[in-house]
Symmetry: C2
Subunit: 123 residues, 2 copies
DNA sequence: TTGAAACATTCTTTTGAAGGAATATTCCTT
DNA sequence: AAGGAATATTCCTTCAAAAGAATGTTTCAA
């Protein structure tokens, strides 16, 4: 409910979060491969390989080229660029305000400040 | 079966793949927050917020500081550095061998090459 | 010491995603 | 035309993770 998909493709992370899928991606890093080879090298059954590749494809992580009987899959660079940008934007922000934890503690104190007022609870 | 978790923390991706968790991370980017505030700002119930924060904590994405009644959560930089390194290692490889798809096609051809042999099926 | 605020934890239920097995589709070879 | 190879798809089952609801724990205030 009220699911706010923020800025970056949640979908990319979701697709990569599955171990077999991550393995496929790592494998494809060495170059394009057919479904059969992917399945063989990773010890997957062909249908499962196809399914995972479908998910990766739907999320733009991978693209297919039909070559007669075979389907050759390879990585697409875009999602990785996006991921890179996302992570970088994090690191910048985190370096800046690393230890303003104390700032926040002071904030919290400020709210509680009973200073001079008796039983005035503002809810 | 035969699940080979490659190099990089699959666990980080898994933790970030959940929408609410990703929202929490995006929120914490602005600075440390208590459980209550996180729940409120994201429209979550307190228990669910706690649970998600637990997962994030277990995966090293977040760390807690107990301050009396409150628990203050904030991001940890390490997982993001790791992610960054991982993504970068990809981009390097992908730039290099982007279009050796054709190389691969030639490879495939080579295997099939019936050239001069008759019905010698090596299985 | 009683109560309330802030969080965590437990138990149950629900839902979706992954695996298994069989079958459909396309294309090549003979 | 027939058969086989490579891949996709469907249906069913299984399993784990997320939501819901209730309750436990700690800490502070009066």
């Amino acid at each position: 409910m009220s699911g706010d998909i923020p800025d970056m493709g949640m979908t990319t992370l979701g697709a990569l979060a599955e171990p077999n899928r991550l393995n496929i991606v790592e494998l494809l890093r060495e170059g394009p491969l057919t479904v059969g080879e992917i399945a063989e090298r990773l010890g997957l059954r062909q249908p499962q390989a196809s399914k995972h590749l479908k998910v990766l494809s739907e999320n733009g992580i991978v693209e297919v080229k039909a070559e007669a009987n075979r389907r050759i899959y390879r990585l697409r660079p875009e999602p990785f660029q996006a991921l890179d940008a996302w992570v970088k934007s994090f690191q910048r922000v985190m370096e800046e305000r690393y230890d303003n934890l104390e700032d926040y503690l002071r904030e919290l104190q400020g709210q509680n400040r009973p200073e001079q007022m008796h039983e005035n609870k503002e809810e």
